[in-house]
Amino acid sequence: MAVQGYLSEMGLPTLMQLTCQGGTRARLILHRDDQEAVLYFDQGTIVHATSANLEGKEVVYQVLSWEEGEFSLEMGIPPPAHTIEMPWSALLIEGLQRQDEKRWETLEAKQIKETIDIDQIEEEYDMPENMNDILKEMGGQVPGFIATAVVGMDGLGIAEYAAGPVNVESINAQMTLLYKLVDGAVTKLKAGVIEDYLLTTEKTYLLLRSLSDRNYYLSITADRQSGNVGNMRLNSRLYAERLSKAMPK
C-alpha cells in the first residue's frame, strides 16, 4: 500500500527524514509537471535514485528543490541498484546547501541586473550629462561639421564645440538676432510655433533648433559642400532632446 500526498503539504526533507528514521525499505516516486524521480530507501538511508536523465545523489539534490508536486511512498520495494553511499543526513545537508547557493546566485544576478537597469535608467533619463560632451559627440555625427553651441536668447552660449578655429561667440550673437526676428515674424503671421530655422549660405548651413524650454536653442554650423541638410536636421532633433535633459536646472 502506498502513502500518497503533495509536496506542498509535506516537504521532501521531512519525508526523507521520516522514512530514513523508520529504517524501512521503500520506494518514493515523485512527480512534478512532466518530471519524475524515484528514490529508494534501505536500512535507514537513501541508497539509489533515478530520474529521466540522472542517477545517484544528483537526483536527490535536484528533487530537494521541488516545492510542489506529488509523491507516492510504497513500503517493501527493494532497490534495483546501489548508487548512493552517503548517509541520508549528509545528503540532505549537501542538497540544501546547493539550493541556498543557487538561490544566492539567482538573487545576486537579479541584484546585478537591477543595478544595471538602474544605471541605464539614470543614464537615459535622470543623470544630467555634460553638455559639452554631447555637443562633441554630435559633432562627430554631422557631415561637414564646423561648430555647435547651446545658446540662450540673450545670445550667450552655455556650451559649445568647434572642429576648428571658428568664432562661435560671434555666430551665437548674430544668429540669435536673426532667430528672434524669424520667431517674431512667425508669431505675428500666426504660422505656428517655430521648431527650427535653417539658413543656407554659399559657404555653410546654419541650423538653429529650439530646446524644450524655448529659452535656449541648439545651433549647428556645417560646411555647405560636405554638409547634408537632412542629416543635420535629424541629428539636431535627436541631440536637442538629450541637451534639454542635460540642461542645468
Partner: protein, 123 residues
C-alpha cells in the same frame, strides 16, 4: 496672366494640397506677385516681415564670414516657410507649404523654378 503669375501657378499646381502661400517680394518688402489658399492670409505683412528676415540674414552671414545667403527655411508646427534670393538679390521668393509636404521635393521645386521666376520679373 503674366509669365510670372503663370510660373507661380505652376508651382502651386505641382504642390497640390500642400501649397499654402507664395510671393515674389522686392527687398523693399513689397510683393509683386503671389497668392494663397488661406482666405485671410496677410500677404503684405508676410512680405514685409520676411524682407526684414532676409536682410538681416544677409547681414549676419556677411558678419560671420559665411558668404552670401541662398535661402532660409523656417519649420513651425504648422508649416515650412522657405525664402530664397533671386538673381542679383534684389528680390526674394517666399513659399509656404504644409508640414505634410515633402521638404526635399519643395526645395528641389524651388531650385527648378527660381531662375525662371527671376527672368520673368518685369524690368
Amino acid at each position: 496672366m503674366t509669365k510670372l503669375e503663370q510660373l507661380l501657378q505652376q508651382v502651386r499646381t505641382e504642390l497640390g494640397a500642400d501649397f499654402v502661400a507664395t510671393d515674389v517680394v522686392g527687398m523693399d518688402g513689397l510683393s509683386i506677385a503671389g497668392g494663397s489658399v488661406v482666405a485671410d492670409f496677410d500677404s503684405t505683412a508676410a512680405s514685409a516681415r520676411f524682407a526684414m528676415v532676409m536682410k538681416l540674414a544677409a547681414n549676419v552671414a556677411s558678419k560671420i564670414g559665411m558668404g552670401a545667403v541662398d535661402d532660409s527655411l523656417v519649420t513651425t508646427d504648422q508649416a515650412y516657410i522657405i525664402t530664397r534670393f533671386l538673381g542679383d538679390g534684389s528680390y526674394f521668393w517666399g513659399l509656404a507649404v504644409t508640414r505634410n509636404a515633402t521638404l526635399g521635393m519643395v526645395r528641389m521645386l524651388m531650385n527648378e523654378y527660381a531662375d525662371q521666376i527671376w527672368k520673368a520679373i518685369p524690368r
